[in-house]
C-alpha cells in the first residue's frame, strides 16, 4: 500500500499533524509563533550545512534548531534586547546564512521549492518511519513533561515554588520543537511549519474546555487538514505544504461560523451536565 506515493504522503502527513497539534497548543498558549518561525528558518541553514558536510539532513536540521533554541535561552538571560528582537535577529541570520550556504553549492542539484513548500513526491518509507518513530518519542516526552510545562505556562513562579522545575520543562519543550521542525520539514516545507503548529490549535481553542482536550482536538484538526490539503494538492497539482495550510485555514474559518458556535455551546452544556465525571 505504501508503494503509492500519495498514500505515503497521507500517512506521513497524518503523523506530523498528530505531533504538531499538541506542541502547537503550547506555541499558542505561550505566544511563541515567532519562535516557530525562527526555528524553521534555522532549518534551512541545517539543510545547507548537511549538504556541505555530507551528513544526515534531519539530524543537521535538528542540531541547528536546537542550537538556535539554546542560543535564544542564553541570550535572553543576559540580553539587553527584547525577546522578539532577539528572535528576529536569529531568525533572519539563520535564513540568510542558509540561503548563502545553498547558493555556494552549485554542484548539488537541489530542489529549493520542495524545501520551502514541501514535496509529497519525495516522501519515502524511511521518512514515514522517521515521522512515526520520532513522533512517538516526542509525544512520550511531551506526556512526561506535560504537567510541569502546562503549570509553567500558567504561572512559572507557582510552578517553581511547588517544585516542578519549569526551567527544565522549558528546555525540553524547545528541544521537542526542534525535533518537530526536523520531522515536519519535508512534508509541509520550511516556510509553513509554524502554520501547521498554530492554525489547528487555534481552531481547537473554540471547542475546548481543557488543555488536554485542546491538544487532542488540535491533532485531529491537523489530520483533517492534511487529508484535505493533500487531496487538493493532487487534484490541482499545487505544492503540498501550502495546500495543507489552506485546508487548515478553511477549517479555522468554518469554526468561526454560527453553526460551529452552536456545536460549541452544545458541547459546553454537555460538559456541564456530566458534572459527576471528573475530568482528565
Amino acid at each position: 500500500m505504501l508503494d503509492d506515493f500519495f498514500v505515503r504522503a497521507l500517512v506521513a502527513g497524518i503523523g506530523v499533524a498528530a505531533i504538531a497539534g499538541p506542541l502547537g497548543c503550547f506555541v499558542v498558549w505561550r505566544r511563541l509563533a515567532y519562535f516557530g518561525d525562527t526555528l524553521s528558518h534555522a532549518a534551512l541553514l541545517g539543510v545547507g550545512l548537511a549538504l556541505l558536510l555530507q551528513v544526515n539532513v534531519t539530524l543537521a536540521v535538528f542540531a541547528v534548531s536546537a542550537g538556535v533554541s539554546l542560543a535564544l535561552l542564553a541570550l535572553q538571560r543576559r540580553a539587553s534586547l527584547s525577546s522578539d528582537a532577539l528572535l528576529g535577529l536569529l531568525s533572519h541570520s539563520a535564513l540568510a546564512l542558509g540561503l548563502v550556504a545553498l547558493a555556494f553549492m552549485t554542484w548539488v542539484r537541489f530542489d529549493l521549492m520542495g524545501l520551502l513548500f514541501g514535496d509529497i513526491l519525495a516522501v519515502s518509507v524511511r521518512d514515514i518511519a522517521l515521522v512515526y518513530g520520532g513522533g512517538a518519542v516526542v509525544l512520550a516526552v511531551l506526556a512526561w513533561i506535560w504537567r510541569p510545562l502546562f503549570a509553567a505556562t500558567v504561572n512559572p513562579e507557582l510552578a517553581e515554588a511547588e517544585g516542578l522545575n519549569p526551567e527544565r520543562a522549558n528546555i525540553v519543550f524547545m528541544l521537542l520543537m526542534a525535533v518537530v521542525i526536523a520531522i515536519a520539514m519535508k512534508i509541509v516545507g520550511v516556510l509553513l511549519i509554524t502554520a501547521m503548529l498554530i492554525i489547528p490549535a487555534a481552531t481547537a481553542r473554540r471547542f475546548s474546555s481543557g488543555p488536554e482536550q485542546m491538544a487532542v482536538l488540535a491533532a485531529l484538526f491537523g489530520m483533517v487538514s492534511v487529508v484535505g490539503g493533500l487531496f487538493a494538492s493532487l487534484e490541482w497539482d499545487t505544492p503540498s505544504g501550502p495546500s495543507i495550510v489552506v485546508a487548515a485555514l478553511a477549517l479555522f474559518l468554518a469554526s468561526l461560523s454560527p453553526l460551529a458556535s452552536a456545536i460549541t455551546n452544545a458541547l459546553r452544556r454537555n460538559a456541564g451536565q456530566k458534572s459527576e465525571v471528573p475530568q482528565q
Binding site: 499558542v28 504537567r147 503549570a151 507557582l158 515554588a161 456541564g272 471528573p278 475530568q279
Partner: protein, 287 residues
Amino acid sequence: MSLTVDMSLDPDEGRALVSLSNAGVRRDGAWLVRGVDLAVRPGEIVTLIGPNGSGKSTTAKMALGILSPDEGRAARRPDVRVAYVPQKVTVDWTLPLTVERFLSLTAKADARDAEAALAATGISHLRFSEVRNLSGGEFQRALLARAMCRKPDLLVLDEPVQGVDYTGEIALYELIKRIRDDLGCGVLLISHDLHVVMAATDHVICLNGHVCCQGAPVAVASSDEYRRLFGGRASDTLAVYEHHHDHTHLPDGRVRHADGSVTDHCHPHAPAQEPDATTGEENRHAG
C-alpha cells in the same frame, strides 16, 4: 534588634520548614529587601506586614526558592510539600482552563479533596467555569482551593483575600486557620488586614525594606495604639508598630537608634558603606 539575633540562635531552627537568615535581594544596585530573619515551623502562622513595596512578596519568594538571596541564606527542609498563592496570577485568554482542571495544576488533585476545597471556599458552583471568566474574588477563592487541595506542609499566601467581600474575608481567614489546624502545616501569610493579623497569627514580622520589628502579636496588641486600631481607624495602623521599633527614621534619611546614636542605616548587619544602598533606604523610609 535582640529578637533578630535570638532567631538565628534558636535551637528549634532545625525543625523549621523554611528559614531565612539575614537574607536580602539586590536588583540594579539597590536592595529590595535586606537582613530578613524568619522561620516557619509546622503548625505556626507567621505573618508579614508592611507598606507597599516594602519587600513582603520578595521575602516570600526567597522563602519559596523563586528568588535566591544575594546575601544571607535561605533554607528549606527538602521534603517539604509547598502550596503557594501568589499575589498576582493572570490566566491568558488563550488557555482553556476550568476551575476543576486548575486545582490539578501542579499535582493531580483527589476528586474528594477537590470537592471539599471548592465547598470550603464557596465556589462549588463554579467548578466547570473557565478560570479567565472568574471575578477577582472568585479567582482568589480558586487559588486558595487549589492550595488547599495540595495538602501542603508549608502554605505561602501572598495577600490571599484581596478583592474578597467583607464576610468572605472573615470566612477565608477562618479557613486558613482551619487548614493549619487540620494539616498541621506552617503558614507564611502576607496581609494588610492588621486586625486579622493580630487575632489569628502566631508571629508578626513588620517589613520596610528590612525587618523593622517582629514578635508575638500580643505584645503589639497590648498597646494603646492597637486599641485605637481596633477602633477601625486605618490611618493609625502603621503607628501601632512604632512603639516596637528600636529606631526612628529621621527626615534626612538617617536613623536614630534606641540608645540615641545616629547612623546612616537602620540595618544592623550592614553599617553604612555603600552610597547606593543608602539612597535606597532613604527612599524607602521617607514619609
